[in-house]
């Protein structure tokens, strides 16, 4: 019991550190990547001076994330005269917390056997009590192992929009209200296509459990390709990616907060760390969306041919690896995949122009939705005929 608690506390800490760390990293990646794409240098003015010397550590501008955080914490927390102060203060939390919660069901590694992990400790007699303590227990590297993981993802990420709507409504500002209205309608339009894309995925995998989905993706297709979702369901991948970016309210779907029309959209009236929370939740959402993409379509923590015991190549060769190495490799694979998926999202964000509002609606309802429905019908048909 205590062991379970301990391990899950570690998982929780890892998940939160993972999200916040990567979100901070992505603020930097976004700046630098957009700069390099635009032939610029990018933010590099922040530095840490090594004490007692004149050496300034610039580290390619990595400290800008820290500077941003410090700035937002120290700024004046201006509150507009609004008619509902409670909702106004609640909104940033409602926007940020669900985003953090989604990650709970995402598996970020394979099976962890803490007892085996202690094998590498050089003095076996020192590690022995700990080994006895953990015994032969094994854990999925996941904060909450739920059978209906994918439904939890949909349910919780749907809650996030309430924060947006609440923010727009309670700040007593027309720009905010417009942004909130746009966010709400956009969310309704795109959640449907997203759900349909996910259903076709569920039909393919035959499970709602994210862990099972990832395990399914460790197989091999036609002898060469890994059975990743992107190869099994390429159209669903595109649909999900589009809908996920739209959910995340980023360019080209950033109508709820488009600067050129609505100042800052639904968080116009927010300042200091409240505004920072909205920004942070946007970047955490990049991490979460990337993690979902990786889990659902890009094989999760799987590398091709990597099993819990080591590599097993298709030609029959095997390369056994100790458990700690496998765990480390899986966690690392997941992280690298998430970072790459996030970079891809940032690339999209800096490449595409924003939709006009009617185009957005037409795109969602007349293009994505029929396509998602068709994809679902085709998938069901294929499954039914057992092709």
């Amino acid at each position: 019991m205590i062991q379970d608690l301990l391990i899950h506390l570690v998982f929780m800490g890892y998940a939160i550190a993972f999200m916040l760390g990567l979100a901070t990293l992505f603020t930097w990646v976004e700046r630098k990547q957009s700069a390099i794409m635009a032939d610029r240098i990018g933010a590099n003015r922040c530095y840490i001076r090594i004490p007692f010397t004149d050496i300034k550590l610039v580290a390619w501008g990595l400290f800008h994330g820290i500077a941003d955080g410090a700035k937002m914490l120290l700024k004046e927390n201006f509150t507009p005269t609004t008619y509902d102060r409670f909702c106004y203060n609640l909104a940033p939390w409602l926007a940020a917390v669900p985003v953090l919660l989604v990650f709970a069901v995402i598996p970020f590694g394979g099976t962890l056997v803490p007892g085996n992990l202690l094998d590498i400790v050089p003095f076996p007699h020192l590690a022995q009590p700990l080994k006895d303590f953990f015994g032969a227990r094994s854990y999925q590297m996941q904060v909450a192992r739920l059978d209906a993981g994918i439904l939890v993802v949909l349910a919780i990420s749907g809650v996030g929009i309430i924060g947006t709507i609440l923010a727009g409504w309670s700040s007593n500002n027309k720009f905010s209200l417009l942004g909130a209205a746009r966010a709400a309608s956009q969310m309704i339009s795109y959640e449907i296509s997203m759900g349909l894309a996910l259903i076709s995925l569920v039909v393919t995998y035959g499970t709602l459990d994210l862990n099972e989905m990832v395990r399914y993706q460790s197989g091999i297709l036609y002898g060469a390709l890994p059975t990743w979702g992107i190869f099994m369901q390429p159209l669903a991948f595109l649909l999900f990616l589009t809908a996920a970016i739209a959910e995340n309210k980023r360019v080209p779907f950033d109508l709820p907060e488009c600067e050129s029309e609505l100042v800052a959209g639904y968080f116009t009236e927010y300042s200091a760390m409240k505004m920072g929370l909205f920004m942070l939740s946007e970047f955490i959402e990049i991490v979460v969306v990337s993690a979902l993409l990786v889990t659902l379509f890009l094989g999760g923590y799987n590398l091709p041919w990597l099993t819990d015991a080591g590599f097993a190549f298709p030609n029959g060769a095997t390369w056994a690896m100790p458990q700690p190495a496998v765990v480390l490799l899986q966690v690392l694979t997941f992280t690298v995949k998430v970072v790459l998926a996030g970079c891809f999202q940032i690339q999209i964000r800096w490449s595409l122009p924003r939709f006009r509002y009617d185009q957005l609606m037409r795109f969602g309802w007349k293009f994505l939705l029929p396509l998602a429905a068709l994809n679902l019908v085709a998938t069901v048909f294929v499954r039914w005929m057992n092709l």
Binding site: A35, I36, M37, D39, R40, L238, Q347, S351, L352
Partner: protein
């Protein structure tokens, strides 16, 4: 109701399908990104912008003249006679001159004690050079190096104006100095 716009986009089916154009756009930005990234990784500069003020941008015109120098006489004194013409003509009002008198030097009884050009305001028009009757102020092919957090610190004082370049301007043709025995009319 569908309104007809005069600038209706002429899109074919290919563009209307959107996804292919998106991929093309991503390829363009991606190629720029990876091209620049490759330059950075091979220790070259992958950006067109300059890292101001640590770097001087490379695309200044060869004719750009951005620094003032005050020329000197052969004996090392300021050529300027503090006539205030440059300060008068300056459209940005950024030259400040405080004069001092030395009646022993009869040819140049007046000289600047302070001569300051405020580079936070100078527009580099070169009028001061045109106006100077003594050829005492010139502009050289360089840029002033004054990024600062405080505009009060962006003034160039006399000694800086004298020392930005080697004290004597090699291109300068010096006016003939008074020979021994020659006497200024005032002193006669």
């Amino acid at each position: 109701m569908n309104k007809d716009y005069w600038n209706k986009p002429a899109m074919g089916l290919w563009e209307r399908l959107y996804i292919f154009e998106v991929i093309r756009g991503l390829c363009i930005t991606g190629s720029v990104f990876f091209g620049n990234m490759w330059k950075w990784l091979t220790l070259r500069k992958g950006a067109l912008t300059a890292y101001y003020p640590e770097e001087v941008r490379s695309d200044y015109s060869p004719n750009n003249r951005g620094r003032h120098v005050l020329t000197q006489r052969e004996n090392g004194e300021v050529q300027c006679v503090s006539c205030n013409m440059c300060a008068t003509v300056c459209p940005a009002y950024c030259i400040e001159i405080l004069s001092t008198a030395n009646f022993d030097d009869v040819f140049h009884p007046k000289a600047p004690e302070r001569f300051e050009i405020d580079y936070s305001r100078c527009i580099f028009c070169g009028f001061c050079v045109e106006a100077c009757p003594e050829d005492a102020i010139r502009m050289i092919k360089d840029i002033p190096d004054f990024p600062a957090f405080d505009r009060d610190t962006m003034c160039a004082p006399l000694d800086l104006l004298l020392n930005w370049r080697p004290t004597r301007d090699p291109a300068k043709v010096y006016p003939t100095q008074p020979q021994n025995g020659e006497v200024h009319p005032w002193a006669a």
